[in-house]
């Protein structure tokens, strides 16, 4: 099981019941499944956003992998997704730490998916301490939009 972290704290994954998540390789090879269910797309963090533009109007969630918290590519991918107008849910999944929550939210992520093990070490209060991410930042002051799509 995994935990979904948002501004209000920990919750169970509501997507698991609502729809499927397809890997990028599958989607590129076989196309997206033809069903009416909601679709999610899994992106590795070396994905090329331009390559997946065509898929985006069919998916309502993009999940970007964080293999290591020290690898910041995911932040730029989320930003790029928002830049090209993706308005669905964007989720960071994997090794993200509470101290990165504000960065993730400001880059365009809506939520973080962490493992139960990570959630027991880095507890809910440690994440909620960063829920005030939307308060003014230097970048806001300098006129950098944080949700360009919205």
């Amino acid at each position: 099981m995994s935990i979904i972290v948002t501004d209000t704290g920990f919750a169970a994954d509501d997507w698991a019941d609502a729809g499927a998540i397809v890997s990028l390789d599958e989607a590129l090879e076989a196309g997206l499944p033809q069903s009416n269910a909601r679709l999610g797309l899994d992106l590795p963090n070396d994905a090329d956003i331009d390559q997946i533009r065509g898929l985006l109007d069919r998916v309502s969630l993009v999940r970007i992998a964080f293999p290591s918290f020290a690898d910041g590519r995911g932040f730029s991918l989320a930003r790029r997704l928002r830049e090209i107008g993706f308005a669905g849910r964007v989720r960071a999944a994997g090794h993200v730490i509470p101290d990165q929550y504000a960065f993730a939210r400001r880059s365009g992520f809506d939520e973080i998916e962490i493992s139960d093990e990570a959630g027991s070490r880095q507890t809910e209060d440690q994440w909620i301490a960063h829920a005030g991410w939307a308060q003014s930042s230097y970048q806001d002051q300098l006129g950098r939009a944080h949700h360009p799509a919205a």
Partner: protein, 555 residues
């Protein structure tokens, strides 16, 4: 000078509070050492050879007397009574205890200072020409831009976990004193044909194990486009920079492996996208920053001393000759206080010396000091008439060494004495060279010469751009010093060329002496500097001086 806005103040305090919590969570195990490491690095805290080291930012090298006094107090309270000014316009404290660091950061915040992003794989403290706002050759003061960049890069949501560290330098003068071509991004303030201000943007310079001179990616970037353009460069780097090998992770390698044209195309494409999502700062914010750097009102008294006043103290005269530079206002001057006493540690200042510097800045330099990347302190706005008094006060504090720009004005990294990565000592080599050429008349006869020393391949001592560069390596457990010649960190940036095999610790000083003798023998006149002579005659005569004699000795 810029002072913290309410926003800055709130931000820095919050940041200290967060760091306090991170230290606590490290201690209670919520954060693993791996997870804590980048967080402490982003707050300037390194683990060194003997202890933690705290690196405090002096953004674009500008500091006021109250801040300098606070650094002195911090040195007394939590360190051993001194600090070390670095080649990136920072100050390092070498002996803090982990538990004291949040208090030290609070003490810094009290005077509008911080240690944010002085290390880690993020955008580092932005450096600038240390004569900014005072230099006679300046087109425009680069510090308003540097302050804008400080704000933009602080806690940047997208660019705080980059493949590797990222350094930006800016100059507003055609004579580049900020080594812009050896930075990940170098900015030179220029004017276009219509006379509008903008920047030349240089990318992919850097020293370290693969030294490279930066390349121009934009000859003229209008001022207004700076932030979205930098966002574009950083986004391209964050997504495509190598993460498989730490030694190949800097942007210089990406530029090199991808090719300049392709990189330019990618940056321009990203820039088009960024522009749409960048409203730009409120004009009032930009105006407030610019106003903060307006030149102090200088009203020099009619000069009571001039260079040709006959009765003068020869020590004063010698010091004026080397340590005083031309100011943009006639009758005013820029003083460089040498932190390179003969036999001393380059860049070290005691807390008492810091207080003397603060007093002098208050009394004579319109409340401003600068830290130079050459590890000296600058009094940027003094009156020529006050030079004798300033010199006398510096003499009393042991800071009147008249050697700026000369052979004993050496840049040296901490090396084996402090640094965990070092492969050799560098400070003792600097000390020995300065002792060997102690006589100031000899130094003056040799003329302008930059010796730069690094204690390992990481090149923090910038040896690649020293006229004479010295790199300390470890050869099977023995220190070996490799020489490079002809390096240059200015607008004519050049990476020095290796002379050949290295020298043992007890051979390196005689080797430097042979280089100097060779230069003195072959220069066309006293006006031909070491670098000019090297450029004219090339490596051969120097090589001959270095190695044929060594062989003769061995035989």
């Amino acid at each position: 000078m810029y002072s913290y806005s309410e926003f800055d103040e709130g931000y820095v305090r919050e940041r200290v509070r967060k760091f306090r919590s991170q230290v606590e969570r490290r201690i209670d195990g919520s954060l693993t050492e791996d997870e804590f490491k980048p967080l402490r690095l982003m707050n300037g805290l390194y683990l060194q050879l003997h202890a933690y080291m705290l690196r405090v930012a002096i953004p674009y090298g500008t500091i006021n007397p109250a801040q300098m006094r606070q650094l002195a107090d911090i040195a007394d309270k939590w360190d051993k009574g001194y600090g070390h000014f670095t080649t990136r316009q920072n100050i390092q404290f070498n002996w803090p205890k982990l538990k004291d660091v949040p208090d030290m950061l609070d003490a810094l915040a009290d005077v509008g200072m911080h240690a944010i992003q002085t290390s880690g794989n993020c955008i580092r403290n932005v450096t600038a020409d240390h004569f900014a706002g005072a230099a006679a050759d300046e087109i425009e003061d680069p510090r308003p831009t540097a302050e804008l960049l400080r704000q933009w890069s602080t806690d940047h949501p997208e660019f705080t976990f980059l493949p590797r560290k990222f350094k930006v330098a800016i100059t507003g003068s055609p004579n580049d004193r900020a080594v812009t071509k050896a930075h990940d991004i170098g900015l030179r303030m220029v004017r276009n044909e219509a006379g509008e201000p903008g920047y030349e943007v240089i990318v992919g310079g850097g020293l370290g194990r693969t030294p490279m001179v930066g390349k121009v990616v934009r000859e003229f970037l209008p001022k207004i486009d700076l932030l979205p353009y930098l966002e574009a460069i950083l986004q391209v780097y964050n997504l495509s920079g190598r993460r498989d090998n730490k030694y190949k992770a800097r942007i210089k390698i990406l530029v090199h492996e991808t090719g300049l044209d392709e990189i330019k195309t990618r940056i321009e494409a990203a820039f088009e996208a960024q522009k749409k999502h960048f409203r730009g700062p409120e004009p009032s914010l930009v105006a407030a920053i610019e106003a903060a750097f307006s030149q102090p009102e200088l009203d020099p008294p009619v000069m009571s001393i001039s260079l040709d006043t006959p009765v003068r103290d020869p020590l004063l005269e010698s010091w004026i000759d080397t340590n005083v530079s031309e100011h943009k206002v006639p009758g005013a001057a820029i003083v460089t206080v040498s932190l390179k006493p003969i036999g001393g540690t380059p860049g070290d200042a005691t807390s008492d010396q810091m207080r003397v510097l603060a007093d002098l800045a208050e009394r004579y330099s319109h409340n401003e000091l600068r830290v130079s990347h050459e590890q000296n302190i600058i009094l940027p706005h003094v009156y020529r008439a006050d030079l004798p008094a300033i010199h006398a006060a510096l003499r009393e504090a042991g800071m009147a060494t008249a050697n700026v720009g000369l052979i004993s004005d050496i840049i040296a990294c901490p090396g084996m004495d402090y640094c965990a990565l070092a492969t050799a000592r560098s400070i003792p080599i600097a000390q020995e060279i300065s002792q060997r050429f102690e006589d100031i008349r000899v130094q003056k006869d040799i003329g302008p010469l930059k010796i730069k020393i690094s204690g390992c391949i990481n090149a923090c001592g910038h040896h690649h751009v020293g006229h004479i560069g010295i790199l300390g390596l470890d050869k099977a457990g023995v220190e070996s010093y490799q020489l490079t010649l002809g390096g240059d960190g200015t607008q004519t940036a050049t990476i020095g060329t290796r002379t050949g095999p290295g020298f043992a610790a007890d051979e390196i000083i005689p080797a430097v002496e042979r280089l100097i003798d060779a230069y003195l023998g072959l220069r066309e006149s006293r006006d031909e500097t070491f670098l000019e002579a090297y450029r004219r005659v090339g490596m051969e005569p120097f090589k001959a001086a270095l190695y044929s004699e060594a062989k003769a000795h061995a035989a």
